[in-house]
Symmetry: C2
Subunit: 367 residues, 2 copies
């Protein structure tokens, strides 16, 4: 069952964080939610990391009237995979985002205005640096596990390599040690779509630049799905109300991208989108090390990896590269390649497939 009504919480660190770029971001506010109860030993905490456009609202409803629960409600709650009768589950909105944590839409204390493009470029490592402060503030020395898919998986990797003593295990889904140039390209054209929008005004907009942001999101959706899932969902069906020979006539898949693109404009900020796209593209687990091997030599916690057969954004071979590297180092690692047609999105949709493996993994983790 679902958790009870939840409340958004927040914490502000006045002294901020020193970023990978060398700049200081201060103050830093993090918005987060928690579910379940921290036990006396403080050993039952699970941190769930969100992806690019996610937020801290992982599970449950905020108000009785809410029509939809949090973004990964299916795995959090009494009796669910992350059983809130046993675990204390935390989800924190990343810095750079637009859902309450400090990001380009926040007020820059030095100017009294929104940061916009004066916000510093941040890395996934910076996001985790801020989260580490939150976890400490919550009085937790060591997380039972940290789990995330896509950008969330990158954050879990950063916990495993940067704060090895602070986690007892990690779960990394549909992620990558570093996005390929093809993945970077697809973000690059999404960025370009926003830059092209004259209402973007180099980030100094009054209203979200809707045409550019919608297109950017449309491009994103292509990368989240797969050839296979598009085939079964839309095929080559043409919109029923359009003529095949109308210049503006649309295929169903085209309408879907359009519809979801414009919907996105109401819920996500264009500058945040750009900053987080940059964080994704810059991501490299081996950043600051000689090699991935050196980066992974820090790892102590067992890591369970999941890749999804039709994920062409962060294809399985990229996860397999990490698994091989960790095995070479003799680290405790487990890998499941899930056969799925859902593409990159599979990590959010295939939880029934992987839940038994996660349960088994957690039953063996000591904290």
């Amino acid at each position: 069952m679902s958790v009870d009504l939840v409340q958004e919480q927040s914490v502000t660190f006045e002294s901020g964080v020193r970023l990978d770029s060398g700049r200081i971001l201060a103050p830093v506010t993090l918005v987060y939610e928690t579910y379940g109860t921290l036990n006396g030993e403080r050993s039952n905490a699970i941190l769930v990391e969100h992806a690019w456009t996610g937020d801290a609202h992982l599970a449950g409803k905020r108000h009785e009237a809410d029509t939809r629960p949090g973004w990964w409600d299916a795995i959090v709650g009494p009796g669910r995979l992350f059983d809130t009768d046993r675990y204390f589950v935390i989800c924190s909105n990343v810095i750079g985002s637009c859902f309450g944590s400090t990001g380009p839409t926040s007020i820059n204390p030095r100017t009294g205005k929104r940061y916009n493009l004066s916000f510093p470029v941040i890395t996934v490592r910076d996001m985790v640096r801020a989260q580490k402060m939150l976890i400490e503030r919550l009085g937790i020395e060591r997380l039972l596990t940290v789990m995330g898919g896509s950008m969330g998986g990158m954050q879990a990797l950063e916990w495993a390599t940067q704060y090895p003593d602070s986690i007892a295990s990690a779960l990394v889904l549909a992620s990558t040690p570093r996005p390929s140039p093809q993945a970077i390209s697809l973000n690059a054209v999404a960025r370009w779509a926003i830059y092209n929008d004259p209402t973007w005004r180099k980030g100094e907009y009054k209203h979200n630049p809707k045409d550019g942001l919608a297109l950017a999101r449309g491009i994103g959706h292509i990368t989240f799905l797969s050839d296979e899932s598009m085939n079964s969902k839309f095929g080559r069906r043409f919109s029923a109300k359009d003529g095949l020979f109308d210049f503006f006539g649309q295929f169903e898949v085209e309408r879907y991208l359009n519809y979801n693109g414009y919907n996105f404009v109401d819920r996500f900020d264009a500058n945040s989108f750009l900053y987080l796209a940059k964080s994704l593209d810059l991501y490299d687990v081996a950043w600051g090390y000689e090699s991935m091997l050196e980066a992974f030599s820090n790892v102590t916690a067992p890591i369970q990896f999941y890749a999804f057969s039709s994920d062409w954004l962060y294809p399985p071979y990229q996860t397999e590269e990490m698994v091989t590297c960790l095995e070479k180092l003799g680290k405790p690692v487990e890998y499941h390649l899930i056969n799925s047609a859902y593409g990159h999105d599979a990590f959010l949709l295939e939880h029934e497939t992987f839940a038994p493996f996660v349960r088994d993994f957690l039953s063996r983790v000591q904290n």
Copy 2:
């Protein structure tokens, strides 16, 4: 060696063509080039079909000062694959294009103004319908072969199914019986990029809408390359003159897309781009038939197919579907899967790999 200086030719059909949409396009002008000499029996003619943004300038130079020869010069000329001492090679610019053949940039005789969006939506079948008139005008009853890659391959398929008596063979490279919804999506976001450009003005622009068209082409380039070729060409290298933490700092692959995108604006018309994108998306070899099987039952000429392992725009399985279907019908068909890292672009780059197979195939064709 290369052919001598070539001259663009053109022919106009005043009565035009009746299009698949039911509309009449008249007059219809086709721009074309020829290389070599038509023999007395008129049996040595080869038609080479260009892709989306190609033109009639297949081989040789138009002026001594030209720095670059035609787009597929490597395979046309004395001693080359299409040996102009033996063959009479023709290349015709398709209708809908912007290189001299009738398209949206042409003057609509009824208004005295550019067609722009009053130009009718055209299909690949329509392109071939016009070409058939050109071939007749040249006094050729039956082509020795018709060859094309990508949209050129679709045209070759239309010759094989719509004019089976007019070809003695066909060569189809990196093509598809119908683009998948993923391929359609990628064209859809390219279209969207142009629609978003305020200077496009629903096709009534004075100057090519450069930001939108450049982005559209940038998206196209992603589909022409492969994860593999991007990896070896760019990797994750960052532009040397940009800082890693500059908001507008670019990866090399991003610069490449940008550079090639803006270059394209100088040579291709945005409305033509949109009309041809539409022709590609609408393409279905079985259009007007119950099935692909029924469409292919018309085929008499032997067809040689090529697919390229890393082509994710029109992946090998789509070519293989056609090969299987033709085999089921007992038609003469040959298939080569070429192992290549170059993605969709491979068909233009791997000619040395496939030339021996083409030579062998042609040596067995009787006209």
